[in-house]
């Protein structure tokens, strides 16, 4: 069997109306149609889904794990960016 035409796709499931699609896993498939069918067969067997999104894994643009330090560490000590850093003045009634 030729393996050249199998691609990896990422599967996102929305469980209920109004909620966001969440990453569930991946499937091997030949194209969009078989990817949707395979995702349905693998990830929605127990009533998990009301909607599916599929994206080719190669189309995902990801940040480089090697750059994690420069990208994310600087935010670690900026505690004033969290609302809990601030105390609410006594006189404020509606927040």
């Amino acid at each position: 069997m030729s393996r050249n035409n199998w691609h990896l796709y990422e599967v996102f499931i929305r469980s209920k109306n109004g909620l966001a699609h969440k990453h569930a896993g991946s499937v091997h498939a030949q194209d969009a149609e078989t990817a949707i069918l395979s995702a349905r067969d693998l990830y929605t067997r127990r009533g998990e889904a009301s909607s599916l999104w599929i994206i080719k894994s190669s189309d995902i643009i990801a940040s480089d794990p090697g750059e994690a330090g420069e990208l994310y560490d600087p935010s670690d000590d900026k505690i004033y960016r969290h609302s809990t850093f601030y105390t609410v003045p006594d006189g404020v009634k509606n927040m």
Partner: protein, 263 residues
């Protein structure tokens, strides 16, 4: 309880309504069993799951039908006994559903030919005078629509694919087409069921079905069934080829070795 008593336990029926529902149930049961043989043997994990999902859908349909039959007529102590302990000649499935899993092309074409027939067969039950049967049909039709979508996609893909995939689909067609006529024959049991109000006569849609299927086949790399194929029949009346015997030896041994076994 000895196995022989269990055989006697699954009684004969003369009720045309029950006889017709047994045919529907046996079709679903035997194709479900056939597909379950592929569990762990699919060409790819995704396709393995797809086939076992379809198998479970079909066995689920059979279970609903067997259980419904038992609420109307006391043929057996439970659905397992009715489904799993009859002798070969008392299974009334069509011959197509017992055909072997030669390769993936055979499996997909068998599924497409059967499911596209089953859709028409079950649509004809929606106005049945048995409202439970109509409800079972309505539920099953959603599953059937998916089976058609899946199998049709693969018939097109393989037929219109490489030389090898087309050759395999052409081989499947030359093997399986001869079993399609039986499914649409308006035999005495269909006629009796129509008269009893169980179903409307879906066999009248035979030419529509042929047109629909031939259109797909011609899109699938220009495949055409042989015009003068001699149709092989008999399964609906218990005249089976040895394929069903092999299925039954596997499917029945547990219930016959341990009569009354429950999961």
């Amino acid at each position: 309880m000895p196995a022989l008593e269990k055989y006697i336990g699954a009684k004969h029926t003369r009720n045309p309504h029950t006889i017709y529902m047994l045919r529907l149930a046996d079709n679903a049961l035997i194709l479900g069993q056939r597909l379950s043989e592929m569990c762990g043997h699919g060409p790819e994990m995704e396709l393995d799951m797809a086939m076992t999902n379809m198998s479970l859908d079909l066995i689920g349909q059979a279970k609903l039908l067997f259980e419904h039959i038992l609420t109307l007529e006391d043929l057996a102590p439970n659905a397992d006994v009715l489904a799993l302990t009859r002798p070969l000649e008392r299974y009334s499935n069509c011959l197509l559903v017992a055909q072997p899993n030669v390769d993936f092309a055979h499996i997909m074409l068998r599924q497409f030919l059967f499911s596209s027939m089953q859709k028409r067969q079950y649509e004809a039950l929606l106005n049945s005078n048995d409202s439970t049967l109509a409800a079972i049909a309505e539920k099953s039709l959603k599953e059937i629509a998916y089976h058609i979508r899946f199998a049709k996609g693969w018939v097109l893909r393989l037929g219109d694919g490489t030389k090898e995939s087309r050759d395999r689909m052409a081989d499947a067609l030359s093997c399986l087409w001869r079993f399609t006529g039986e499914m649409f024959t308006c035999d005495a049991r269909v006629a009796d069921a129509v008269e009893a109000g169980t179903s409307s006569d879906f066999t009248k849609t035979y030419s529509d079905w042929k047109l629909e299927v031939k259109t797909i086949l011609s899109e699938a790399g220009g495949l055409t069934p042989h015009e003068n194929t001699r149709m092989i029949m008999g399964g609906h009346f218990g005249q089976h080829d040895d394929n069903l015997g092999h299925i039954l030896s596997d499917m029945q041994f547990m219930q016959l070795s341990y009569p009354g076994l429950e999961w």
